[in-house]
Amino acid sequence: MTVSHRAASIEVFPLELPFVESFRHATSDRTACDSVLVKLTLENGVVGWGEGVPRAYVTGETQASVVEHVTGPLARALFGRPWSEPVSTGDIITIGQRLPTVVAEGVLAANAAHCAVELALVDALLRSAKASLADVLIPAAREVHYSAAITATTVEGTEKVAKRLKLVGFRDWKVKVGFDDDDARLAAVRAIIGDEASLRIDANGAWSVDEAEERLARWQRFAVETVEEPLGRARRADLARLKAKRLAAVSVDESLVTDADATSLFRDRSCDLLNLRLSKLGGLASTLRIATTAHAESMDYQVGCQVGETAILSAVGRHLAAHLVPRYVEGSFGAHLLAEDIGDRPVTFGHRGVGQPLAGPGFGVEVREDRVRAYAKSVHTVDRGSLR
């Protein structure tokens, strides 16, 4: 029997949660988590939490736009109908599809806002059913192997970070590139991690196709396995040309945001690998849909993360990765990057970058609301009555 619930209220928390150290890449330099968290309370009193990570250079969203979209059109849709407890991936996809796609000027896709609301709703509905996301996204792997990520910093700083992460024992590595000293930094990283470790680079759209070809040819000596987002959305048409050179597997990230992006990437087969990040794609439903198509199309993908995700997105990413078993996984940095995470227990990787599948109600994380409030820049409340 299908059990349905109605949402009673939502609270929205745009955060400023400091990092332990800054994280820099070709388009951004971050020192704090700027996620927007959504606390959703159902009429039965059960609470669920969701998270979206606005990135102006990816989806065009800001914290302000996420707050506006969550408390406006998404809240109206949320309060406007009953929601059924999910028991299958199909149910989760249905929930995601029933929440509207917000269209706004200057925003490519309001996906972080959609993700935050969708996750809060799924978490609350699972908790109402006394179920875990692992009951729906059944783990197909006993361990999730995360990649190390090296921020763009000085050569000396890169060496320090690489040595630290080497102690953890990662097997997969990703280095941010797109700077003048890339050669020296990549040489330093390869020397530290050894020949056996897999090395990916992420240019965050810093290059033209000619620049990408020239660099990848030169960096054959570093055995770069994959180059992520070499060209950026504006130069996506050149991806096929770069892929044809076979200098490294070509992965897309910022060039995969909308359904239309996915359709054209599958149609043109202009890349080898997709970076599926929950917030960027709008949540679980859209990510699962794209992953399903990728399986059918025999296209590789990774489950990625946004820099600075809290325990909420880390937990959902863990469930997703354990279920899908993608080529690579990124995320679960938790308190290795955040000065303090907001869960009641750590959702971080351990030695070798390994994390175990999570259990427990909802996403398996109990959010510490005191910490959320401590790091919230503001709080925005909407209840069902106020929208009537």
Binding site: F19, V20, T31, L167, H336, A339, P346, T348
Partner: protein
């Protein structure tokens, strides 16, 4: 660079950042209110109520050349080094009573226990106990260094600006006196540990770097935000 120099340089930097922070400057100058002093006293107790247990862990992994030193520190912490010795936990309680915060002791002891539970729950990053022991040794010894060099200034400020009776500040004065020696010996122990457990200089330097990424003193004695501000993460 020799490990001793790496560790001492890292500790000096940590202390420099700590003492230059607006939180410490204001506290020492009497420019904060009673609430801030009380928060500092509570953070101090919360941090150090568990010291005996942390020293117990260090004793378990101590290298032969330093095991007697670590044992002595542990016994001193527990008040068992000499007849009539007082456990440092009791000195902290006396400090809280002296400040009129005696009713907070059960909560602060529970917080200290909770911090150990949280640490035990964290996934282990390193492959062997030797790295975990080294990281713990570096962090715990950092506090001995800090207290050896600054405890008397904090005691004076608490007496002058918060009105804590001098007798109730024995934890600071006692710590400063005994830890001057402990602080120097702590670095010996770190070097002995690396040597005994065959941790290379490069490996050890990386572990020191990883352990002291943020200002551990500001984080424990003030707040996560204070440490983040000192690290330039937030303004």
């Amino acid at each position: 660079m020799a490990l001793r120099h790496v560790v001492e340089a890292a500790y000096r930097k940590q202390i420099e950042v700590f003492m230059a922070s607006p939180e410490v400057i204001a506290l020492l100058a009497g420019e904060v209110d009673r609430v801030a002093y009380d928060a500092f006293l509570e953070a101090l107790a919360r941090t150090h109520f568990a010291s005996g247990q942390y020293l117990g862990f260090l004793f378990a992994v101590a290298p032969p050349r330093s095991v007697d030193r670590v044992k002595h520190n542990l016994l001193e912490e527990l008040g068992l080094d000499a007849a009539g010795g007082e456990a440092h936990g009791q000195l902290l309680e006396a400090m809280l009573h002296g400040a009129g915060l005696g009713d907070r002791i059960p909560t602060l002891r529970a917080d200290a226990a909770e911090s150990i539970r949280e640490r035990a729950e964290e996934p282990i990053l390193y492959g062997t106990l030797r790295e975990i022991g080294f990281a713990a040794l570096v962090e715990i010894s950092a506090f001995e260094w800090l207290l050896a060099h600054t405890a008397s200034r904090f005691a004076a400020a608490l007496e002058a600006h918060r009105g804590v009776p001098r007798a109730a500040l024995a934890w600071f004065t006692h710590h400063a006196e005994v830890d001057l020696r402990h602080a120097e010996e702590a670095v010996d122990t770190i070097c002995d540990y690396a040597d005994h457990h065959r941790i290379t200089a490069d490996h050890a330097e990386t572990l020191v770097d990883a352990t002291l990424r943020e200002n551990v003193f500001l984080r424990r004695y003030f707040s996560v935000r204070a440490a983040a501000r000192a690290g330039g993460m937030i303004s």
